[in-house]
């Protein structure tokens, strides 16, 4: 299915998926987006709708309750959702590519059987806990520890900014923790599955964020939180490496989400530039506005080709690390730049919170920070160039 993933000429099934998700975004997400943003409320009804249409199962095989699609299909869905509501899109992105994917990639048969059906159906959400108060870009600086005692892992520490970790359907957090030192005296980092019902685990009160208000983000604390030894995900000591692989893929998904945001800004601006009149004609009749929108369209398009390319490599089983970083870099910058321009085009209305472009203006900044900051992407690209 991955031959010729080019814009404007997608295989039929992908185009139909785009149409279906766009329809959902327009009829189910759009009417409630501003309200959830205003109230900082988690859109349970929208998440249930996404679950019903199988979005949480997109890249997983049917045997685990999935839709038999692939990672590119997930990206296309994220792009469509993000045009309308980035909070909803990140809820899906984090649920699938950070929540369920590590279990699909690294879990053993029992772990997959226990967790995947509820996650791929969207009945439950899993979160991904890597970042800590003192370990973000430098995630190797993890301080959370887990020690084996009496057949249990006993976890102590804190995680910071964890998406999807405190909703009423959040059932699992996958966390990295230091489980010892390796032969060379280096920290050994492993990954553990922590059900949210575990005593000693707490999702602290949600943050008051600049944007992504309808997305659920909490600090997490672990005080002698005990999980069975069998909750080790993947090999002991491979936790950090495994998470980095998940993040490489996740960058393509975040790039797709960013492109949705960038395109959403274009779509709103085109509409507004035709409608809004000043000096006796539509503002879009001025090249100063039309050229701005043309440039926005170009940014969104280029960023889209970048994530299509990274996704095609990934699906073909080829190396895609650099391409994923480039896609994430240019996608997030396109979103931020377009949000700024779209707000300008909307004048004072663009500064009003209930306008979609104002929401994109607040929401887009985090795209340059989460899943590897812009600087981290530049580091990875430079490293690939041997610098």
């Amino acid at each position: 299915m991955t031959e010729g993933l080019t814009t404007g000429n997608l295989p039929d099934e992908y185009q139909q998926l785009i149409d279906s998700v766009a329809d959902f975004a327009r009829t189910v997400v759009a009417p409630v987006a501003a309200q959830h943003d205003e109230e900082h409320s988690f859109p349970y009804e929208v998440v249930a709708g996404m679950a019903e249409m199988g979005l949480f199962g997109l890249p997983f095989p049917e045997e685990f309750g999935g839709m038999d699609g692939d990672y590119f299909a997930l990206c296309l869905a994220l792009e469509e959702l993000a045009k309308i509501d980035q909070s909803v899109a990140i809820t899906l992105e984090a649920g699938v590519s950070l929540g369920a994917m590590p279990i699909f990639r690294f879990g053993n048969a029992e772990q997959k059987e226990e967790w995947l059906p509820q996650l791929t159906s969207g009945e439950a959400l899993a979160a991904f806990g890597l970042t800590e108060p003192d370990a973000g870009s430098d995630a190797g600086g993890t301080r959370t520890r887990a020690e084996l005692a009496g057949g249990d892992w006993v976890i102590n520490g804190n995680k910071q900014f964890i998406t999807n970790s405190g909703t009423t359907i959040s059932k699992l957090v996958t966390v990295t923790a230091v489980t010892g030192v390796d032969a060379r005296g280096k920290k050994e980092i492993s990954t553990l599955l922590v059900p949210t019902s575990t005593p000693g685990f707490t999702a602290e009160p949600a943050y008051n964020k600049l944007g992504w208000n309808a997305s659920d983000t909490h600090p997490l604390s672990f005080v002698d939180a005990r999980v069975p030894e069998a909750n080790l995900l993947g090999e002991r000591g491979r936790g950090y490496a495994n998470f980095l692989q998940i993040l490489d893929e996740g960058r393509i998904a975040i790039a797709a989400l960013s492109v949705g945001a960038a395109q959403g800004c274009v779509d709103e601006s085109v509409r507004y530039a035709k409608e809004r009149e000043a000096f006796g004609r539509p503002i879009g009749a001025n090249q100063g506005i039309a050229f701005k929108i043309a440039r926005m369209e170009a940014r969104a398009h280029v960023a889209r080709t970048a994530y299509y390319d990274a996704a095609a490599l990934m699906l073909a089983g080829k190396p895609f690390k650099k391409q994923a970083s480039i896609a994430k870099l240019v996608g997030s910058e396109a979103a931020m730049d377009n949000a700024r321009d779209a707000t300008q085009i909307h004048g004072g209305y663009g500064f009003m919170n209930d306008y979609l472009v104002a929401r994109h203006y607040r929401d887009s900044k985090i795209l340059e920070i989460g899943e590897g900051t812009t600087e981290v992407q530049l580091m990875l690209i430079a490293r690939d160039l041997g610098l």
Binding site: D12, E13, M53, E62, M67
Partner: protein, 256 residues
């Protein structure tokens, strides 16, 4: 149980809908062609039954070549197969002829239950299901706000100006549903992938027998003109006398 759902391709109500003033026909470039929302609900009624019962669901349409996209969506939503009545001689067919052709196709196809939308969002005739039922000689339960299907009957409620009617009919029957029935599901990716392998049968008038092809009836548009721009209108601010002013306004135009 074999359920046939009548689906129609219409211009998307979300887009700008225009007539081509030269031909009097719909300007198909003006908005995207989609499956009529009311027919999606008709399909949903069939699929909801199929979710927990043994049923075969067939989507049937009469329309131009482009209608095949809409049939594919019906299949992606969950219909098992589709039938496309496609014949250039049918262009401009009016309600009476359309009903005759669809009835012939239903007879050829076989059915226990036929579900249609109460009226299309473009033509808005609202009588096609009744005409089809008449041709088939089976009961009609139209304008249903709710639908309960059993193995040998259908039941539902219809709102009227005076109250709510509970209607029931034995199968085979034709029913039509309103916007109050359940919202349609969105096609999921598995459904989209599966739809590629589902059969779509294309029938021309010749496949449907002499009756369907005989004495064609078409509507011909003689003239069209742009809708006049809205005038500013009169604003009445209610400071206690609005009722009187309103009555005077209407009386002056001999409307009351």
């Amino acid at each position: 149980m074999k359920i046939v759902v009548l689906v129609k391709q219409v211009p998307d109500t979300w887009g700008a809908r225009r007539l081509n003033l030269d031909t009097g026909w719909l300007d198909r470039g003006g908005s995207e062609a989609v499956i009529d929302e009311i027919d999606e609900r008709a399909l949903e009624a069939a699929l909801a039954y199929q979710d927990s019962n043994d049923a075969e669901v067939v989507a049937l349409t009469m329309g131009p070549d482009s209608a095949k996209d809409m049939l594919r969506k019906s299949l992606a939503m969950g219909a098992d197969s589709a039938v496309h009545i496609l014949d250039s001689r049918l262009a401009g067919a009016d309600l009476a002829w359309t009903a005759r052709v669809i009835a012939a196709a239903l007879t050829k196809l076989g059915y226990d239950l036929v579900i249609a939308g109460n009226e299309s969002t473009d033509g808005r005739g609202g009588v096609l299901p009744a005409l089809v039922a008449e041709h088939l000689g089976v009961p009609l339960a139209s304008y249903l706000d709710s639908v309960a299907i059993t193995a040998d009957s259908i039941a539902g409620e219809r709102s009227t100006e005076l109250g709510t009617m509970s209607v029931r009919a034995p199968l085979p029957a034709v029913i039509s549903v309103t916007e109050r029935t359940a919202e349609a599901r969105f096609p999921n990716f598995k459904g989209i992938l599966r739809a590629k392998k589902k059969p779509v049968t294309v029938w021309s008038l010749d496949d449907l027998g002499a009756d369907a092809a005989a004495s064609p009836v078409r509507s011909v548009v003689l003239a069209t003109s742009e809708r006049p721009a809205r005038s500013a209108g009169t604003q009445i601010v209610d400071d206690g006398t609005a009722g009187v002013e309103l009555a005077e306004f209407l009386a002056a135009r001999h409307l009351i």
